[in-house]
């Protein structure tokens, strides 16, 4: 999987139910500089929709979403 982005920051929200992962991501985006690549690990399927919707609203970039075993890895770049 050569095109998997290399994250600067990882957030492990596995096990947290909605809206945990999205809120964890929003909290992290507040802290980091523009241009940071964030990897969000989530086991909540709803995140696959919630997160891109918020990124769109807030103007950050969705790099990719990968399914890994029992969870998803969502890669985001802040702008």
């Amino acid at each position: 999987m050569s095109d998997t982005p290399t994250p600067d920051v990882e957030i492990d929200s596995r096990g947290a139910t909605c809206p945990g992962p999205l809120m964890d991501l929003i909290g992290k985006v507040k802290e980091v500089e523009a241009g940071t690549t964030i990897e969000l690990l989530t086991s909540d399927e709803g995140s696959k929709n919630d997160v891109p919707e918020w990124l769109d609203e807030a103007g950050h970039e969705l790099l990719t979403i990968e399914a890994v075993d029992d969870h998803w890895a969502i890669y985001v770049e802040t702008t």
């Binding site: 096990g15 947290a16 139910t17 909605c18 809206p19 945990g20 999205l22 809120m23 929003i26 909290g27 985006v29 507040k30 919630d50 919707e53 918020w54 609203e57 807030a58 103007g59």
Partner: protein, 379 residues
């Protein structure tokens, strides 16, 4: 040898836990085989749910506190001091007065604190009802507020009592109508994610109610700056909202003991069933300081306290602990000044919503009065 059980924090979780331990371990405590100490950085316990009623003149902060010495069983030792250090390898805590205390079992029950400074301008420009001074100052402000835009903005998530912001706007709407002021006051409720509440069912239930009451709803709204001069909220999503009176749910944080002791980044990382800390032996966390996927609510602190008390009592008796926490959460939701509903759910469940009624409102007020019996372990 005496098993030393130390509880840091004498709030809802800490008192319920200590009293339950006193009950479970009474013979061992009397024979000197076990000893329970609660350390709290003040003589009083504050019952925070009462703060919701203060802005509307329905309760005072003074009635919301009790001396801890009245709440704790006589088999529990109370130490009024602040824990300033925690060494989980040496199994000891340091106190502000200079003493160190060794423990065999430690329970972190230090709750959550408010951190308005995290958002520039919030402390100067915003009000809140989440602490004793804040809620009193909001009462004075609301009493004189006769026209303009009242904005309730949920800024900090996670925050205590996820229902309280919705309760506040429903109550404000009703209270302002009763006072004949509603026509001149616009109300807006803002929430960080794409719906009105973290739980889908609560959001689905609240959204048409907000519309019925003429309360504006703004979603995907994450305030990152407040301009107190211009009275404007600026968001991460690039939007602005003018206000005349801003009531914000400030960002929350936990005691620095947690990160300094390596128990978690902010909240204590725990096993969500046993509430044992992930990063240290013989350390548990309950209530708002524990990172579990449910609400930061008094009911959670209460149920978790029972589980941890049972687990520690089993360990002291040399038995295998079997008690686990299933995420049980109960929250009352006021929908006006005289009606309420409630939700009950466990980990991963979506609660079923019920129509609000007067009896549920009275039940909430009744619970608020009888809370002190709960803290004492009598209910």
């Amino acid at each position: 040898m005496t098993e030393e059980i130390v509880v840091v924090g004498g709030g809802t979780g800490g008192t319920v836990l200590a009293n339950r331990l006193a009950d479970r371990l009474e013979p061992a405590i009397e024979s000197g085989d076990a000893h329970v100490t609660v350390i709290n950085d003040g003589e009083y316990q504050y019952y925070k749910p009462a703060y919701l009623y203060v802005p509307f003149g329905k309760k005072t902060v003074e009635e919301a506190k009790r001396p801890l010495s009245d709440l704790l069983d006589r088999h529990v030792e109370l130490r009024v001091d602040r824990v300033t250090g925690l060494d989980t390898d040496a199994k000891s805590v340091s106190l502000e007065d200079g003493d160190d205390m060794a423990y065999d079992h430690l329970v972190m029950a230090t709750g959550a604190t408010l951190d308005p400074e995290e958002v520039p301008g919030l402390a100067e420009g915003g009000h809140h009802f989440y602490g004793p001074e804040g809620t009193e100052s909001l009462r004075d402000e609301l009493a004189d507020f006769e026209e303009g835009h009242l904005v309730l903005s949920v800024i900090g998530v996670p925050h205590m009592c996820p229902a309280a912001p919705l309760e506040f706007v429903f109550m404000a709407d009703d209270w302002l109508r009763q006072r004949g002021l509603r026509e001149d006051i616009e109300i807006t409720y803002t929430y960080p994610i794409q719906r009105a509440h973290g739980l889908q069912s609560v959001a689905d239930w609240a959204t048409p109610k907000l519309a019925d009451r003429d309360i504006n709803l703004e979603t995907f709204f994450n305030a990152e700056r407040v301009d107190p001069e211009e009275q404007v909220l600026e968001t991460m999503e690039g939007n602005e909202l003018d206000y005349d009176l801003l009531v914000a749910i400030p960002p929350h944080t936990a005691s620095e003991l947690v990160s300094e002791a390596g128990l978690g980044d902010t909240w204590v990382d725990v096993d969500r069933a046993t509430l044992e800390a992930e990063q240290a032996e013989d350390v548990y966390a309950i209530g708002d300081v524990a990172d579990v996927p449910t609400s930061k609510a008094g009911s959670v602190a209460h149920y978790e306290a029972g589980v941890v008390a049972d687990r520690i009592a089993s360990r002291v008796r040399g038995q295998t602990p079997t008690s686990v926490y299933d995420g049980k959460t109960v929250c009352f939701i006021e929908t006006g000044m005289d009606e309420a509903t409630f939700v009950e759910f466990g980990y991963g469940d979506e609660p079923t919503m019920r129509e609000p009624s007067k009896p549920v409102h009275w039940a909430k007020l009744g619970y608020n009065e009888s809370y002190w019996l709960t803290a004492r372990g009598l209910l």
